[in-house]
Symmetry: C2
Subunit: 391 residues, 2 copies
């Protein structure tokens, strides 16, 4: 069947706050072919990604994404691969391309799953899926007391794994960080998995990160995430071999396979975290998951947005039993909560499950999200090359 339409929808909360909460806006992609409809989500700047889809060609290796997608055939997994390859070739020099491709690739898998009446993870070759332990992913409080209160509430809600990140961490001195770390452990209790996410705050500065290792050891941190910017291989490697030894996690900033490969091969990571909404979609995420498994590194999804994005991120490693943990956003803004009619909720044992419905198994609630639609219009040489489509 031929791809008939590719539509981008920019959604936003009425007010976007200057905090590390990626659920305040969203960019959805709807692809229609042969009477089916697939949906995907880019974890990306919406306006910039839309521009990359519709921009005029600059030269043979800097074409808009639409060039590689519209009117193409989509009958099987190999067609998705062909489209992904075409984007990488035709939009090689368009930096934003991978973020935009991500939502497109996800929507194509959703579409194909619906057509073949199979969940995506089965189309990826997994015979069965395994439950994942969700870690409640949230921002640090503004002060240690607030972090404690949040940690206690998350524990009371039944989560066995909790992550705190961003916010004040790394910005007001070591003592302040230690207070947050101790508050977090005290709040979640001694048995919970507790992860700490530095949100790249130390950039490439190894000693600033090393100074936190003792405190991370004291609170028995399950991992220390993104102390440095993505791709700072030497800094990661040095930290991973420092004492006390704390497992290191990273990789959410990777926007293609070879970047993730470099992080796996050279950064000394224990956990590689991949956002299907950034790395080029489910196709590339699956390739990274396979590599991680072969290198004995634990694959974890990165997801801080909707359950549509969560389902997309789960598919690529659903069938990998040892890779048992999953980022689970617990502070979603209403926009992100309302995107899917179905939610992926922990069962009575506290585990989550990849949906067993066709495609991603999440029905986009077009009526609910209409109120978040951002009206956009882009004109080039007097011609309207993008305007917000009917949802």
């Amino acid at each position: 069947m031929k791809i008939e339409s590719v539509d981008f929808f920019y959604l936003s909360m009425p007010e976007v706050l200057d905090i590390g909460d990626g659920s305040q806006d969203a960019l959805l992609v709807r692809i229609r072919a042969g009477g089916y409809e697939g949906w995907g989500e880019c974890e990306a700047s919406p306006l910039t990604s839309i521009a990359s889809y519709v921009c005029p060609m600059s030269h043979s290796a800097c074409k808009p994404l639409r060039y590689s997608i519209e009117g193409k055939n989509i009958d099987g997994a190999e067609d998705i691969q062909r489209i992904s390859d075409a984007v990488h070739e035709n939009s090689l020099d368009l930096l934003q391309a991978d973020h935009t491709l991500s939502g497109i690739d996800i929507a194509l898998w959703d579409l194909l799953g619906k057509k073949m009446n199979e969940p995506v993870y089965r189309l990826l070759g997994y015979q069965k899926k395994f439950p994942k332990l969700p870690y409640a992913s949230q921002l640090f409080g503004e002060n240690a007391e607030e972090t404690f209160t949040k940690a206690k509430a998350t524990n009371a809600a039944g989560y066995k794994a909790v992550k705190f990140g961003w916010g004040p961490f790394g910005k007001s001195g070591k003592e302040n960080d230690i207070a947050h770390l101790m508050a977090a452990r005290e709040g979640v209790g001694k048995d919970a998995y507790l992860m700490i996410d530095a949100g790249t705050v130390f950039r490439e500065n190894i000693s600033n990160a090393q100074e936190r290792l003792s405190a991370l050891n004291d609170i028995n941190a399950y991992w220390f995430e993104e102390p440095f910017i993505n791709g700072a291989l030497d800094a990661y490697k040095k930290l991973s071999t420092s004492h006390p030894k704390i497992p290191i996690a990273g990789g959410e900033g990777c926007n293609n396979f070879v970047q993730a490969q470099a992080m796996i091969n050279y950064a000394g990571l224990d956990f590689i975290q991949i956002d299907a909404g950034r790395i080029g979609g489910i196709s590339v995420a699956k390739r990274v998951a396979d590599l991680a498994a072969s290198k004995k590194i634990i694959y974890v999804n990165h997801t801080f947005t909707s359950h549509l994005a969560l389902s997309a991120s789960l598919q690529s490693y659903s069938g990998m039993e040892k890779h048992f943990i999953s980022e689970y956003p617990v502070e979603l803004k209403s926009l992100a909560r309302e995107i899917g009619k179905e939610q992926i909720l922990p069962d009575t044992n506290g585990y989550i499950h990849t949906p067993d419905r066709p495609g991603l198994g999440i029905t986009v609630d077009t009526a609910a999200i209409r109120k978040y639609l951002v009206d956009v219009e882009i004109k080039v040489k007097g011609e309207k090359i993008y305007y917000t489509p009917e949802i």
Copy 2:
């Protein structure tokens, strides 16, 4: 002095062809402060980069670039560094940001040079500059005869170094490539430096690249450039240790320092090629040049656009005597030729020189380029957030 205005100008040839010629459009940046004016150029998709400059904030680490620049102070080199750092922090999750920052950083150096009445290379700490041997950079012909004709013409024009790339190379079998390679050598004569640029055509496929090594050896290729996509460290490393040994060049796709660092440390490169218009500007390019020198790898500019971009790319390694070679585009479209009132031309010995005028030493010919201006308008929620400014 305070930054008063930052203006983006999208220029394009009336018709953009589907060929690997990056000089068919351009994105110029003009920054004004304290009565001075600086100009820069992004080697990037113009519309997408403009969108990244003006887009609404998504969250604390996905802000538009304007947030980190407008109204900020610019009195010395440390202010440029501060702005660059701010963009990297505030636009961490905005993939296009580095390409957009590149033009901004270049314009800030030009502005500062004009204010301090010094060429940029001196502001970077170089006491003197060294001549560079320009290699005439051009596309392969459509067939071997055409490649021969182009090579002969380039030789007749006096170039001692010539590069052919892209086009048919790697796309129609090994024999066709060999015919092009032999034609190129025959045309340029036996004494010229001859470089071959595969334009990432083999993606991650090592054996396809290895199959060309003998022919590259036969024509005494000075380097083999970008056989693989940027960041494919393992593929580069394996090729660099294959026989016959051909020096490997790469890196033009790097959009930040740590990517270039990884290519230098793990890819087995002999030459690292950096485009100041992509990697984040002159500031980041200089950092890579210093690292390359310390690792005994030759630094080379990547430039396929205007002489404004060429001057920007030269500044970062102007003072490095051993890094003596420079990419020099010889097939510029009229748009790219007309951007600068001054040209950087080979002297009687065939060498080029970084301009000694203040800033980048290139005066943008606003009257000449007006005819190439592309009219753009971006509206979000009914508000015009970008329209083509007066040039």
